[in-house]
Amino acid sequence: MSTDVSGSRSSTATPPAADDDGGASPAAARAAQRRVLRWRPDNGFAAAALRLLVALGGAMGLFAVLMLIKGVNPLAAYRDMFTSTFTSSTSLAGIAVRATPLILAGLAVAVPARAGLINVGGEGQLIMGGVAAMGMSLLLDGAVNGPVALVLMAVAAGIAGALWSGLAAILRLKGGISESVTTLLLNYVALDIMYFLIYERWKDREGSGQPATRALDKADRLPLLGDTRLHLGLLLSVIAVVAVYLVFRTTSWGFRLRVVGGNPEAARRAGLKVGVLLLTAMLVGGALAGLGGFTQLAGAEFKLRSGFVLGYGYVAYLASWLAGHKPIGVMLSCLLLSGIVIGGDSLQLDSGLPAAGVNVLMALLLLGVFGFATKREAAR
């Protein structure tokens, strides 16, 4: 492994957009930004699409071999999987419902990544968001209901998520401890906090005896969109995607984040407050994931119980990487990964494969994309 600067940067969370000039000066960086803004269809697109198709095809081919080993006809399995997923409105709605918190947690990875930070803590921030929203509901105890209660819960969730990621940011800035380490550790602390609460303190006395809180009052749930399982949280997550997209493109904060992510030393010399930028990036990220926890609680689960958003944070992390930390892409990746899970339902219902088999398909697809759909790095 060589240690040249560009190699080290591209092996980390640096948004690729900053790679070509390193943002040596604000002027140069602005020029780079203009270049990024311009739409330039060239061979790159076709080549990337081809590489991606080959990666996906390879993964599906490998998985087909595994299915043959398990005595399942892969052609029939894939056919059933795609028809039952893409021709059924329940399945499509299922994809969107599952993707809702994922998208917000994915943005929680993408925003800090723009500043060169690695947030592996989406899981913990989702959980703390859910815990805070539930805590707010328990605190209100019916004193206010409806939209007011929902807003208060959302605010509490956002703050809790931001605190959880902010803790990691502070440890990074003051203690010099890598945020990727602390966010990972804090995931488990958050999980145990939630279990601790639902096991005793917040356990529903009238409930079934399993560790779970009471359910949110009907008035305190996110309204459904029409006659579907889709809830208002989906709208919230799409708005968040658009907002982050616009903030990245149009605000000076979004621009500065990228400068810091590109070359913090240069950014500092150019007079940017790097510490503040890193902190705010992390806070915004955590707040988004916290909101994700809120949408899952108030839109789909209605109570905290063991298994709440289990694994969502890690999938969101992968989704953000899959999309190169671009907001619109994060949304697409989250839909894709949710689609694989929902397609996996068909693998066991129609083809009789063990449920966890879908993990293999997802992993192969991601390996294909991470390892083969992007150009090999020169530095390695």
């Binding site: 039952s84 789909a300 899959l322 759909a373």
Partner: protein
């Protein structure tokens, strides 16, 4: 800039793959849907929830081969398949007890299932959610209890599991040399508390000095926690151990290796502990599953016993939870004693015949009281006297 084109590429590839794969089979699925509808119309004999269903769906919380609870439920679903050769049986394992369960059930319903068995305790919430959205689908939950008004198309069913556990407790009370029994359990849900209490009461009925030590693992299946729980109990002098969680092999093998005795749960695991096996209880779901399917299919679900909190016990002879075989150390006299107790319970007795006292000395059932199934389920919120251990406070 290696990923600049990645996003559009991703979107296009996904769309292409989806289009390519779904295009070819669109018509096939429509055809089969039409066929389903036609068949439905013909076979319909009523209009209640689940009437004329050609498919039945089962969801399990764990893998269907866990050598325990889920495997037993899966075996029941295969019995349905055998009993109704014209029906398609859909099964889904590893379905979490949260909104993911809603999605899987919705998918089964979209595929034509009108009868859904939600076989885990925690599947009831999502099950009721699905029932509300689909009045024409019968949704039954295994083991839990609908405390509010029961919807026309939902219900719960279970066996009075504490009856065979009480009988196994008698065998354990006779077998123990240290007068210390051990109980490893997952969560303090009412049926588990009832089991622990019945086990202690059964043992105490033949051995007043006996005590039951309890450890919970807070997981339906975490073998390492189970192994440690077993070691801790053995260290306290426990010489007969039993359990209530989904995967059971670890505790059984731990007992056999440590030279202790074991009372089985969920499945006959006597082959894993040829020396230490005392007694046990196991599931036989086929009859209840078949009857529920038959009732719903004929359109008679609403108003049937299954459209409520149905409990089959030894009183009606339909308890799906039955005694496993005895181990070699159980002598003829004990077997006779247990058989007598069984006859008595099935006729006019109960494992909880008063007087039964809680740990704190307060009265659960008055002297001479013979509680019915509903009263037993309601009263088992705390451990009885003789159980050593605390429940999580709330």
């Amino acid at each position: 800039m290696r990923t600049r084109w990645f996003l559009p590429a991703l979107a296009v590839s996904v769309a292409l793959t989806a289009a390519a794969c779904s295009g070819s089979s669109d018509s096939a699925s429509e055809d089969s849907a039409k066929a389903d509808n036609a068949a439905e119309g013909a076979a319909s004999t009523g209009s209640g929830p689940g009437a004329g269903s050609k498919k039945v769906g089962f969801i399990f919380v764990g893998p269907k081969d866990d050598y325990g609870y889920n495997q037993a439920a899966y075996a029941g679903s295969q019995a349905v398949k055998k009993a109704f050769p014209d029906m398609e049986v859909l099964t889904a394992e590893n379905v979490p007890e949260d909104d993911n369960a809603t999605r899987v059930m919705e998918k089964m319903i979209a595929g034509g299932a009108k009868i859904i068995f939600a076989t885990s305790y925690g599947h009831l919430d999502p099950g009721l959610k699905v029932a509300e959205a689909h009045p024409d689908v019968a949704v039954v939950g295994q083991g839990n209890f609908i405390s509010k008004a029961v919807p026309k198309n939902a219900g719960t069913y279970f066996g009075t599991v504490y009856e065979p556990v009480y009988l196994a407790g008698i065998a354990a009370g006779k077998a123990t040399k240290t007068n210390k029994l051990g109980y490893v359990y997952a969560f303090p849900i009412p049926q588990t508390i009832a089991n622990i209490n019945a086990f202690q009461l059964g043992a105490a009925s033949v051995n007043p000095a006996v005590q039951t030590y309890v450890v919970n693992t807070s997981s339906w299946c975490d073998p390492a926690k189970q192994a440690e729980a077993a070691k801790s109990l053995f260290a306290q002098g426990v010489d007969v151990i039993t359990q209530h969680q989904d995967c059971t092999a670890t505790i059984t093998k731990a007992a056999e290796e440590a030279g202790k005795m074991v009372v089985g749960y969920h499945a006959d695991a006597s082959s894993l502990a040829p020396k230490g096996w005392v007694a046990g209880s196991e599931w036989a779901w086929a009859d209840i599953y078949n009857d529920i399917v038959k009732t719903a299919k004929e359109g008679k679900f609403t108003g049937s016993p299954y459209n409520a909190n149905y409990r089959a016990g030894c009183k009606d002879g339909k308890n799906p939870f039955v005694q496993s075989k005895f181990g070699t150390m159980v002598d003829a006299a004990t077997k006779k004693l247990i058989e007598d107790q069984k006859v008595k319970i099935c006729k006019d007795g109960s494992p909880f015949t008063g007087e039964v006292k809680f740990q704190d000395g307060s009265v659960m059932f008055k002297a001479g009281e013979v509680p019915d199934y509903a009263a037993i389920e309601k009263a088992n919120t705390k451990f009885v006297k003789g159980v050593v251990g605390e429940l999580p406070k709330n």
